[in-house]
């Protein structure tokens, strides 16, 4: 009996979906627009996260040691800094390596290269480049270096202050970008929910006499509600599949630009989508089913009391 009723409800849902094709197309279009907006936001957030990581990876604290400091002393500092949990890595750059890097970096600047040749000695110092897991932890590194007297006597120069300002600014930008991203996502989601709820309400309003007829010939509430809910699930399913298709298409087209933009990272939008396809579209489908079923049930309740 339950299986018979369920199979009838599914059949009625499919019939309603097909026979009311224009209303179905309009509703699906809105579902697709909503889901595509959400998907776009997910992708923009992913790209933004990568961009922030890229910029963050460029930020470090450089510690320049006095020429008299031995390599052993520098390694001892390196070992101590590496022992801190929030320090990701500490890179030792000898003064000859630093000079070589400078030459490579200014390969196209003859003036700088000429100036370097003029000098008899290597003017650069041995350096430790410290990177932390989180940009907010740079301040802790700076504090330790400042507060420890045995470090202070070894260090000749530090670019802490400059980096501090950059790091703070970056943190502020990252926080703002994340905040705006969330605000936009929430704003879009609210609009999407309102649009979907109203579209379904209108669809049900147009069928209110049909609902009363069903009730008058003895249909139970579940038998009336079932096909409408089934129809809503169809909208969500078809809408999600179309969004998936469009997203693949758009991702394929935009991936070379993203790869180019984030050239120094190993990030590809297409790969990101492939890795998260079930996660992203699964959640979107479930969310859309929930919104559709909820709004269908609410909209129907008014007309079921016949």
């Amino acid at each position: 009996m339950l299986f018979l009723s369920l199979s009838r409800v599914i059949r009625f849902s499919a019939q309603n979906f097909a026979r009311n094709i224009w209303l179905s197309i309009v509703t699906i279009t809105i579902v697709v627009l909503t889901l595509f907006s959400v998907t776009t936001l997910v992708f923009v957030n992913a790209v933004m996260e990568q961009a922030i990581q890229l910029v963050e990876s460029k930020v470090d604290v450089s510690v320049y040691f006095k020429p008299t400091v031995t390599a052993e002393q520098i390694f001892a500092v390196q070992t101590n800094l590496e022992a801190l949990d929030y320090v990701r890595d500490v890179e030792y750059v000898s003064k000859s390596q630093a000079l070589e890097k400078l030459r490579v970096r200014y390969n196209n600047s003859p003036l700088i290269l000429e100036s370097l040749k003029e000098l008899n000695d290597n003017p650069l110092n041995d350096t430790l480049i410290v990177r932390t897991h989180d940009t907010s932890d740079y301040q802790k590194v700076i504090d330790i270096l400042n507060a420890t007297p045995q470090y202070a006597v070894l260090i000749e120069n530090k670019n802490f202050d400059d980096n501090q300002a950059v790091v703070r600014r970056l943190e502020r930008i990252a926080a703002e970008v994340t905040g705006v991203g969330w605000a936009v996502t929430i704003f879009f989601s609210i609009i999407a929910i309102l649009v979907i709820v109203n579209t379904i309400r209108i669809a049900i309003y147009t069928h209110r006499s049909e609902i009363s007829i069903m009730k008058l010939v003895g249909a139970s509430n579940w038998f009336v509600r079932g096909p409408f809910i089934g129809e809503a699930i169809f909208y969500a399913l078809v809408g999600t599949l179309i969004t998936l298709g469009i997203s693949y298409l758009v991702t394929n087209v935009s991936d070379p630009f993203v790869v180019n933009l984030l050239g120094q990272t190993d990030f590809s939008l297409l790969r990101y989508m492939n890795q998260n396809v079930v996660h992203i579209f699964g959640i979107e489908f479930i969310g859309m089913v929930f919104v559709s079923v909820f709004s269908t049930s609410i909209a129907l309740t008014r007309y079921l009391r016949v």
Binding site: E210, S212, L216, S220, F223, V306
Partner: protein, 226 residues
């Protein structure tokens, strides 16, 4: 079969639709309920179908006291009563076949039984050749015949027809009344609500006259009095 004991229906605002109605309709009877517009005939139909609840009194349908019927029990009651309305009330997105089948599907009838019964009842009303049409593709008279077929599908013991000829011309009206008489001959209790004098006088069956929510006359072989 249908009993009303001191039934009153008062709508909000102290609007009295029915006042102290006492009726006893026996199984197999053909009863016409007549009265002018706004006298409470449709309210009476709504009470039988549990679309409305009485403000006072008791209603018993087929031995079932439906005065305080629970909301979830209403579909079970309606599956035992065939209903024909003035405005047809067919499902526009379903074919004639599907409209008739729907009344059986909601009752959980098997697919085999449905495919056996639906063509039979559509044949009784003379629409066996139009089963795949939609309600908008047939005439008003034909639509009403589909409604009669639908009301017959689950072989109800009671058939309530609320102004079934209200939207039909005289030829189609006569066809519908003939169908109702045929259904009554099979033993179904028919309650015909109408204000069509000609039809009531031709029937020569029991006539209950309502005026301002009160039963003013109940004749065994009656005529339209108003």
């Amino acid at each position: 079969m249908i009993t009303f004991k001191n039934v009153s229906k008062i709508y909000p605002g102290q609007q009295i639709a029915l006042k102290n109605i006492n009726l006893d309709i026996k199984p197999g009877e053909f009863v016409s309920i007549v009265g002018q517009s706004g006298t409470g005939k449709t309210t009476l139909v709504k009470l039988i179908l549990a679309e409305e609840r009485p403000s006072k009194g008791k209603i018993v349908i087929g031995g079932w006291d439906i005065t305080g019927i629970k909301y979830r029990e209403i579909p079970t009651l309606r599956r035992q009563i065939g209903v024909v309305f003035q405005d047809f009330k067919l499902l526009p997105r379903k074919t004639l076949y599907e409209n008739v089948a729907f009344a059986l599907e909601v009752a959980g009838e098997s697919n085999e039984k449905i495919s056996e019964i639906v063509p039979q009842v559509l044949k009784i009303v003379g629409l066996e050749s139009k089963v795949n049409r939609y309600p908008t593709q047939i005439s008003g008279g034909e639509q009403q015949r589909v409604v009669v077929a639908r009301s017959l599908a689950h072989r109800p013991k009671i058939l309530v027809a609320d102004e079934p000829t209200g939207n039909l011309d005289s030829i189609n009206s006569r066809d519908i009344i003939e169908l109702l008489k045929k259904i009554n001959d099979f033993g179904t209790t028919v309650v015909l609500v109408t204000h069509n004098r000609e039809i009531v006088n031709d029937l020569r069956k029991r006539v209950i006259t309502i005026e301002d929510g009160v039963v003013v006359s109940d004749q065994k072989r009656g005529k339209y009095l108003l």
